[in-house]
């Protein structure tokens, strides 16, 4: 089954890269572009991750409130909820900001770059070496993202540094002695607008296919992991978004509680809420 999933993921990634036409509203990363100024976005991300050591699904729910501060800056406020300790419980909060500092735009294309940072808290027990500030660890991350849009294709490279601290829960939420607390991460993203083939109205449903390669290194411990994450995205009324993705570990020499699983996200954008 795992082998089949891996092959499927690789095939999708190759297909997407070969076809070379995508959109940039990536599922496992953010593009260099921001949401419109003064607009509000509501996002609900759900992860259903298979636990490797038990036949249990780790369910995480991340509600997010997004705000376009101006044409260059956007911010998110996020909450982390999960069932890891048996019942659904709030585990922490986070804040994310992204600043677009470079734009080379032309008709149907752009090359843009942005800097971003996230700070988050978490009170969950720490049972894995992998670091993930959005949903697992207390800490911060900071990095850059560059996105190239070429008509119906988008390619993006994200690189960021991540620092974890002790979580705020009980004894088991402290970082175990000697465990790496710093990570270097990268994400390579490719996406293609599949439907509609020709735009006629904002009511047409858009369908995007995407594939992302997600890597993490813990240089202090010499540990690495690489995942592949194909996804399909639907955009309704040019305003609401549904993402369905599957993240599959390709390689890892670090301990990870539940690296593989499904992502389902819904998002709704309220345009120019603060205006007129």
């Amino acid at each position: 089954m795992l082998r089949y999933r891996g092959l499927l993921s690789t095939a999708l990634l190759l297909l997407t890269a070969y076809a070379g036409r995508t959109q940039e509203l990536f599922v496992y990363s953010e593009p260099a572009s921001n949401m419109p100024a003064r607009s509000t976005g509501l996002r609900l991300t759900n992860w259903m991750m298979d636990e490797t050591e038990a036949s249990k699904v780790n369910y995480h729910m991340i509600p997010e409130l997004m705000w376009g501060v101006n044409k260059r800056l956007m911010i998110h406020a996020e909450g982390f909820i999960s069932n890891r300790n048996g019942t659904l419980a709030a585990e922490g909060v986070g804040a994310y900001a992204k600043y677009r500092f470079l734009s080379h735009d032309d008709i149907y294309r752009h090359f843009r770059a942005a800097a971003f940072a996230r700070v988050a808290t978490n009170n969950a027990d720490i049972h894995q070496q992998t670091i993930q500030v959005n949903g697992h660890n207390t800490g911060y991350q900071a990095g850059v993202v560059a996105t190239q849009l070429l008509h119906k294709t988008a390619l993006s490279v994200t690189a960021y540094y991540e620092q974890a601290f002790d979580n705020f829960g009980g004894k088991e939420s402290k970082l175990p002695a000697g465990m790496a607390d710093k990570a270097v991460n990268y994400i390579l993203s490719a996406g293609r607008l599949m439907l509609p083939t020709k735009y006629k109205s904002y009511k047409q449903t858009n369908m995007n296919l995407m594939a992302e390669l997600i890597g993490q290194s813990l240089p202090q411990a010499g540990l690495h992991s690489v995942d592949i994450a194909p996804s399909i995205q639907f955009i309704f009324m040019s305003q609401a978004r549904l993402d369905i993705g599957y993240r599959q570990q390709l390689y890892s020499n670090m301990t990870r509680t539940a690296p593989n699983g499904l992502l389902i996200r819904v998002e709704y954008l309220l345009f120019s809420l603060g205006k007129k």
């Binding site: 044409k71 149907y108 752009h110 735009y199 904002y202 040019s238």
Partner: protein, 179 residues
């Protein structure tokens, strides 16, 4: 100095029997309809705009202005930029009645002053489309070719002061256009 005063008199003495009706804007940096809708909504929210008709496939927006409204093209540009994109071209359609235009002459239209660049001296009648050639209203490489057609530095600053120092309307925004 005499030359500057002469130019200023020439600039401000042009009759102004003309009215802006509509504009066609092409935006750059986007493909998807969600991006296009962000621009559409931002343009609709500009107070002088009556209606917007969009061609999503071409990233083109046909803007109709309210009758008698004071029209700020900078507001139109800001709307596109606040949506996260850029203006690739802006063409304004205005109706003229026996209006004389020539290089480096000014004309008041919809509450804004327009400065003509690279136009043969002519009397304009009926509906005419003029293209805005100020910074950030077209790609920099396209704009470069107009720099040789005017020596007045207001082409770079966009304000009257650079052409008419000390004038009463020194801070007045001047939009540079061509036919």
């Amino acid at each position: 100095m005499k030359k500057i005063i002469f130019v200023c008199i020439l600039l401000w003495s042009t009759p102004s029997i003309a009215q802006i009706r509509s504009a066609t804007l092409v935006a750059s940096g986007l493909t998807c309809s969600m991006c296009s809708k962000a621009i559409f909504k931002a343009l609709e929210a500009v107070p002088s705009v009556k209606a917007v008709d969009v061609d999503i496939e071409r990233s083109s927006y046909a803007i109709a202005f309210k009758d008698g409204a004071t029209i700020s093209l900078d507001e139109i540009k800001a709307a596109v930029e606040n949506a996260g994109f850029f203006v690739a071209s802006l063409q304004v359609t205005a109706s003229f009645t026996q209006t004389k235009v020539a290089n480096d002459t000014h004309l008041e239209l919809g509450g804004s002053v327009f400065h003509f660049v690279n136009v043969p001296e002519q009397v304009v009648n009926g509906e005419k489309t003029i293209t805005v050639i100020d910074k950030d209203f077209l790609p920099a490489k396209d704009r470069k070719k107009y720099t040789k057609h005017t020596k007045l530095t207001c082409f770079e600053t966009g304000h009257a002061a650079a052409c008419c120092p000390g004038g009463a309307d020194a801070q007045k925004r001047i939009y540079h256009v061509t036919i």
